[in-house]
C-alpha cells in the first residue's frame, strides 16, 4: 500500500515482526491463542506433550503481527514473543 503521507503514530502502531515461542511443557491445549489470533497464525497440532495435552503450534510465522494477544490470553504463561525478531 502506498501512503501519501506517513501516519503520525506509525512508529508505535506499525506491526512488529515477532517470533512466537510456545512452551511445550506448559501448554494445555485450551486453544485460546489459536481462536483469538487475529491473523490465524497458530493451530492446534496433533502433537501431544508428555502430560497428554494437545499442543498449540505456529502454523505460519510470517502472518504474525506481534500483537501479543496470544501471550496475554494464554492461561499457562506458555507463549513468549520475541519482538523485533529478524532472521539472521
Amino acid at each position: 500500500m502506498k501512503l501519501w503521507r506517513t501516519p503520525f503514530d506509525q512508529a508505535e502502531k506499525a506491526t512488529r515482526p515477532a517470533k512466537v515461542l510456545i512452551d511445550k511443557d506448559r501448554c494445555k491445549g485450551c486453544s485460546y491463542c489459536v481462536e483469538f489470533c487475529p491473523r490465524g497464525a497458530l493451530v492446534l497440532s496433533d502433537e501431544l506433550n508428555p502430560k497428554g495435552y494437545t499442543l498449540a503450534a505456529v502454523a505460519d510465522e510470517s502472518k504474525c503481527l506481534g500483537c501479543g494477544l496470544c501471550d496475554i490470553l494464554c492461561p499457562e504463561f506458555a507463549i513468549h514473543l520475541v519482538l523485533n525478531f529478524t532472521e539472521s
Binding site: 511443557d25 485450551c30 486453544s31 503450534a57 501471550d71 494464554c74 492461561p75 504463561f77 513468549h80
Partner: protein, 281 residues
C-alpha cells in the same frame, strides 16, 4: 517451538515462581490470564516490587500467592482481608494486594469484605469470580447466577446471587471495576490504576471454570465461556453499580463503576492519634 527461553526477558515470567510451573489450574481456567494482567500491571505502574505484598485465601485462586514471586501469604479460608488489613496497618509502606476467588472473598469472607470496604482500608482486592467453589468440587455459592446448575444445585440455583460491585460500592469502596478475563488490556490498566490509588479498590474479574461450572452449564470448553463473554459483554464505564447485576439472559456489564475519594482508615487512625496526644499535652 522450544522450551528454552530466557526467563529474565519476560516480565510475566520474571514474577512467576518458575519452579512451580506448569501450574495446577485446569486447561482454559481464567485465573492464569488474570494473574498475567496483574503482573504486567505491576510493571506498568512502576511500583517497587519489594513493597508489594500479595495475600490470597483458599481455593483455586488462592494458589496465586504461591505462584507469584512477591512477598506473599496464603491465609486460612476467607481471612485474606483481615490479614491484609493488619499487614497494611503494621507496615503502611507496603502496597497490599489481595488476590482471591469469589468463594473465599464473597462467601466465606463476606463479612470481612463489607467491613474492610466500610473502613476504606488501603488495599487492592482482585476477586476472580467463576460463579462456584472450584477447588472443592463445584458447589454453588452466593455468586452462582439464578437458575445456573452446579454440583449442589443440579436442578438450577434458586437463590438470588450478590451483585458484587453494588455490594462493595454500597459498603464504601472508593474504586470498583469489573472486567472479564477476555478484557485483558482493560483489566491490566484497571489493576494498575487500583494499585496506585489510596483506599479500598475492588476489581471483579469474571473468568471461566470449564472443569466444573462450565461443564454443568453447557460451557464445557473454556472457549464456550469466552465466546459467551465476547457476545454478551458491554462496556459501561461509570454505570450505576445497582444496574450491573449478572443474569442468565442479560448483558455482562463491565467497566469502571466507582472512582471516588474518601479518607482512608490509616488517615482516620492518624486523626485519633493526634486527638489523643492533644489531650495528653
Amino acid at each position: 517451538m522450544t522450551s528454552s527461553t530466557k526467563v529474565e526477558e519476560y516480565i510475566t515470567d520474571s514474577l512467576l515462581r518458575q519452579d512451580r510451573m506448569p501450574h495446577i489450574w485446569c486447561p482454559g481456567c481464567g485465573i492464569g490470564p488474570a494473574v498475567g494482567c496483574f503482573i504486567r500491571a505491576i510493571e506498568s505502574s512502576g511500583l517497587d516490587q519489594d513493597k508489594i505484598a500479595l495475600i490470597s485465601g483458599i481455593g483455586c485462586t488462592g494458589r496465586v500467592a504461591g505462584y507469584v514471586k512477591l512477598d506473599s501469604f496464603h491465609t486460612t479460608h476467607g481471612r485474606a482481608l483481615p490479614f491484609a488489613m493488619g499487614l497494611g496497618l503494621g507496615n503502611p509502606e507496603l502496597n497490599v494486594v489481595v488476590f482471591s476467588g469469589d468463594g473465599d472473598l464473597i462467601a466465606i469472607g463476606g463479612n470481612h469484605l463489607i467491613h474492610t470496604a466500610r473502613r476504606n482500608v488501603d488495599m487492592t482486592v482482585i476477586c476472580l469470580n467463576n460463579f462456584n467453589y472450584g477447588m472443592t468440587g463445584g458447589q454453588m455459592g452466593p455468586t452462582t447466577p439464578l437458575n445456573a446448575r452446579s454440583n449442589t444445585s443440579p436442578y438450577g440455583n434458586i437463590e438470588y446471587p450478590f451483585n458484587v460491585p453494588y455490594l462493595v460500592a454500597a459498603s464504601g469502596a472508593t474504586y470498583v471495576a469489573r472486567w472479564t478475563m477476555l478484557h485483558a488490556r482493560q483489566l491490566e490498566w484497571s489493576i494498575a490504576e487500583a494499585l496506585t490509588k489510596p483506599g479500598f479498590s475492588f476489581i471483579e474479574v469474571l473468568g471461566p471454570c470449564p472443569t466444573l461450572y462450565g461443564r454443568m452449564n453447557k460451557m464445557a470448553r473454556g472457549m464456550d465461556s469466552l465466546n459467551y463473554y465476547k457476545e454478551n459483554s458491554v462496556v459501561r464505564n461509570g454505570a450505576d453499580p445497582k444496574d450491573v447485576d449478572l443474569t442468565s439472559d442479560g448483558p455482562i456489564v463491565v467497566g469502571k463503576f466507582v472512582d471516588i475519594e474518601r479518607p482512608t482508615f490509616w488517615e482516620q487512625c492518624q486523626l485519633v492519634i493526634d486527638r489523643a496526644q492533644a489531650k495528653k499535652d
